[in-house]
Each structure stands twice: as structure tokens, then as C-alpha cells.
């Protein structure tokens, strides 16, 4: 998982200037977070990483770094989200 690339993808998804999103940013505090961008996030990860995220697990991610770990299949994040 290339975390920098992942952050750039979040910039694009949330219509932010390139370089805005940081790994420590809180996911649900990102400007533009909504039910629509939530679906966009699931679609992006499905398309780019071949992973269908469980929405509940996404909501249990605090930071963008947590989300990246979930996407990469990090077992610790998955356990915490379960």
C-alpha cells in the first residue's frame, strides 16, 4: 500500500486540492464526507484495490491511515473494526 498515493486518491474523491489529505486526518471530519462520498469511497477501493470494504469497518476507522490499513487487509484494523 502506497500511503501517499492513497492520500492523493482521497483528495480526488473529496474534491480537495492535491496534497490536502494527510494520513493522520480524521476520515469523517474531511470536508466533503457524506453518504454520497462514502459510496464513492467504496467504489474507489473496489476499483483500484479489488477490495469490497464493509461499511461498518470503514466507520470504525479513525484516520486515513486506518482506512489505508483496512484497504490493504491489515488484520489489526480488521479485528478492531469487527
Amino acid at each position: 500500500m502506497d500511503l501517499a498515493k492513497f492520500c492523493l486518491q482521497m483528495d480526488e474523491l473529496f474534491e480537495l486540492d492535491e496534497g490536502t489529505t494527510q494520513p493522520t486526518d480524521e476520515l469523517q471530519q474531511i470536508s466533503g464526507w457524506s453518504s454520497l462520498t462514502f459510496m464513492g469511497l467504496i467504489a474507489l477501493v473496489d476499483e483500484e484495490y479489488g477490495v469490497t470494504l464493509a461499511p461498518n469497518a470503514v466507520l470504525n476507522c479513525v484516520s486515513i491511515a486506518d482506512l489505508a490499513r483496512l484497504t490493504a487487509g491489515d488484520s489489526q484494523t480488521l479485528r478492531r473494526a469487527a
Binding site: 453518504s35 459510496m39 467504496i42 476499483e47 464493509a54
Partner: protein
């Protein structure tokens, strides 16, 4: 998944009806603000949808569609052996709306009639039920499918109101020994019930406490992210199962008609399944998500000329509330050109008579 193949069935006619009144950018802009309304429309693909005024029920739309379909097929109403009404917005707690429609359509009293409570997957289930009834010896079945979901959405709820439209449809099916077999694959996962639900109104909550107009629990709730994740999980393998059950290749299929959930979701699914856009007709731009009516409405809106001229191999894919899903591999056509009628908000004479009778 439950898979069946039924030989010797044909579609004799298909007709739809929608309310004449519409909602769209203008009305949504007033409710949610112009910018938010624009974003919602861009995300869902719904530019406008037909919305029933008070007094216009799903049964009224299905009745109008049913009468037109009977005319088109030139069927004597007395020749219909069974009527199936698939909806989650029936007229009454009881009796079954199918019973009232039997009378309104002038069908014989020897006609079997029953309701099926399903939404997004309802058309595929209805076709399966009708086909198995025909396979068991009946000659003609009227399948009436539709919903008026606008009646159970809160006007201020931007997660549901801008998405759903109202429609009623009628599909007439009959035995035809020379017709190719139709295949069905169906499934259910009730653990998803909480993600698309109207909690209040029947017996899980006491009907004595039900005041839907006062309580959010009486309105439609939708967890869009969970529904999307469900479709990503279930729909691609469902499409593959449908193709396998019919022994069709992707090239054999003329169109994959999906439940019109929302455009973003459908386009993503098409990309995931490598389905070319020309094989995935869409109708929700003009009609919204019309629940169980969306598949026949899409056929009438996008494939009417082709259905009238030739036999089309169609993969019909229903999925959603329940969770429930089904795929039907069918051949429609040539048949009388499917039409979409527009019904005024005013109650029809038939519905007024129906109300007086009750």
C-alpha cells in the same frame, strides 16, 4: 442459490403507468438548496421522477397498465387464470390488493389472486412465480408489479426522496410450447433487513402506535453504503449464475436490465462486470428508482421498439430490500409495443368505485 428453468412461456404484452406529476431539480432545490440538489442528481443520475399525489395508489397505476396490456394482447379478461400483485405499497393491511385488482380488471372469479411483498427483486420473483404457475398447468397469468415509494419517504430526507419514483406495470404471460426456456436464480439474506426498512406500521411495532406521519420510524430508512456493499458482493456473481443457468454467453444477451437502483451504482457494476453501456439500458434519469417496477419500466422506456420488432434475450437482474435478489434469463418479443401511460393525480373512476365498495 435457488435455480430453476421453466420451458414454454411467452410474454404476450407489457405496459406501464406513471403518475403525471413530477419532482426534480426545481422542487429539490427548494427543499435542499440548489447546489445540494444538483450534487444529488449528479450522483444518483435521477433528473426527475414521477410522484403520486395523495389518493393515487400503486394499484391504480397497475390497474391502468393492466387494462392497456389486456387490450394490447387482445386477451379476454375471463381467460386470465391467476393474478400476482408484487408490491410493498399495497392499498390496505387487508384484504390483499390482488383481490381488489381482480375485480377492477374484470377478471373471472375463478382467477387465483395473491400478493407478494417484495421490492427491488420483485419483478424477477414475479416472473419466476408466474412461470412456475404456467408450468404447473395454468394457461395465462397477469403479473402486476409496482410501488409508490414516494408515499413512505420524508420530503426532507435527501437520502431517499430524490431517488425514488412511482410506477405500476403489467406483464401478461402465457403458455407457448414453442417458446425457449426461461431460467431463474434467486436468493435472500435477511440479515440485511435493517439497511432498507420502514420500521413502523405493522406488527413488530404495535399498529396502535403507528403514526407514520409523525414519526421517522414510519418512513423509509436507507443505509446507502451498506446497500452498495451488498450489491458489489451479490450482483456480479448473480449475473454470472444467470448466464450459466440459461447456458448463455455474454455475447448471446441482447440486454442486461438491472433494477434501477442508482446510476452511480449501476455504472460501477457495469464497469466491474465489463458490461458495455449499450447492453445496460437505464431509465432512472427520467423515472428514478421505481422499486419493483424499475425493470419492466426500463424495458418499456428503452427497449420498446426492439421488443416489438424481434425476440430479445434479456437478463433481468433484481436486487435490494430484504436483502433479496433474483435473475431471470428470458426471451421477450415480438410483442405489442410496450407503452408507458401517464395517470393524472386525480383518483380514477375505478379507484373511487373501489373505495366506495369498501
Amino acid at each position: 442459490m435457488a435455480a430453476t428453468t421453466v420451458p414454454g412461456i411467452r410474454c404476450a404484452a407489457l405496459a406501464c403507468a406513471v403518475p403525471s406529476a413530477t419532482e426534480g431539480a426545481e422542487t429539490d432545490g427548494v427543499l435542499y438548496g440548489v447546489e445540494a440538489a444538483g450534487k444529488l442528481s449528479a450522483a444518483t443520475g435521477v433528473r426527475s421522477r414521477h410522484v403520486a399525489a395523495a389518493g393515487l395508489c400503486t394499484s391504480d397505476l397497475c390497474c391502468a397498465a393492466g387494462k392497456r396490456a389486456l387490450q394490447q394482447a387482445e386477451w379476454d379478461p375471463a381467460s386470465v387464470d391467476a393474478l400476482i400483485f408484487v408490491s410493498q405499497t399495497p392499498d390496505y393491511l387487508l384484504p390483499a390488493t390482488s383481490c381488489t385488482l381482480q375485480a377492477r380488471l374484470g377478471l373471472s372469479t375463478s382467477c387465483a389472486a395473491f400478493d407478494v411483498n417484495l421490492g427491488c427483486s420483485g419483478y424477477t420473483y414475479g416472473l419466476w412465480l408466474a412461470s412456475t404457475l404456467l408450468g404447473s398447468g395454468l394457461s395465462r397469468v397477469a403479473l402486476l408489479v409496482g410501488d409508490t415509494v414516494s408515499q413512505i419517504t420524508g420530503r426532507e430526507d435527501r437520502s431517499t426522496r430524490p431517488l425514488f419514483g412511482d410506477a405500476g406495470t403489467a406483464t401478461l404471460l402465457e403458455r407457448a410450447p414453442e417458446a425457449p426456456p426461461w431460467s431463474f436464480v434467486l436468493g435472500t439474506d435477511g440479515s440485511g433487513r435493517d439497511h432498507l426498512i420502514v420500521r413502523r406500521g405493522l406488527f413488530r411495532d404495535s399498529p396502535l402506535n403507528a403514526q407514520p406521519e409523525l414519526n421517522a420510524e414510519g418512513r423509509l430508512f436507507m443505509n446507502g453504503a451498506e446497500i452498495f456493499a451488498f450489491t458489489l458482493r451479490e450482483v456480479p456473481p448473480l449475473v454470472e449464475a444467470g448466464l450459466r443457468s440459461a447456458n448463455w454467453s455474454r455475447d448471446d444477451v441482447d440486454a442486461v436490465v438491472m433494477h434501477q437502483a442508482n446510476e452511480f451504482m449501476l455504472k460501477h457494476l457495469a464497469k466491474r462486470m465489463k458490461l458495455p453501456a449499450e447492453k445496460q439500458p437505464l431509465s432512472l434519469g427520467d423515472y428514478g428508482n421505481t422499486s419493483s417496477a424499475s425493470i419492466p419500466l426500463t424495458i418499456a422506456a428503452q427497449l420498446a421498439d426492439r421488443c416489438a420488432a424481434e425476440s430479445l434475450k434479456l437478463l433481468l437482474v433484481g436486487f435490494g430490500v430484504g436483502y433479496s435478489w433474483g435473475v431471470a434469463a428470458v426471451e421477450f418479443g415480438p410483442l405489442p409495443r410496450p407503452e408507458i401511460l401517464s395517470l393524472d393525480a386525480e383518483p380514477t373512476v375505478a379507484s373511487l368505485m373501489e373505495r366506495r365498495a369498501c
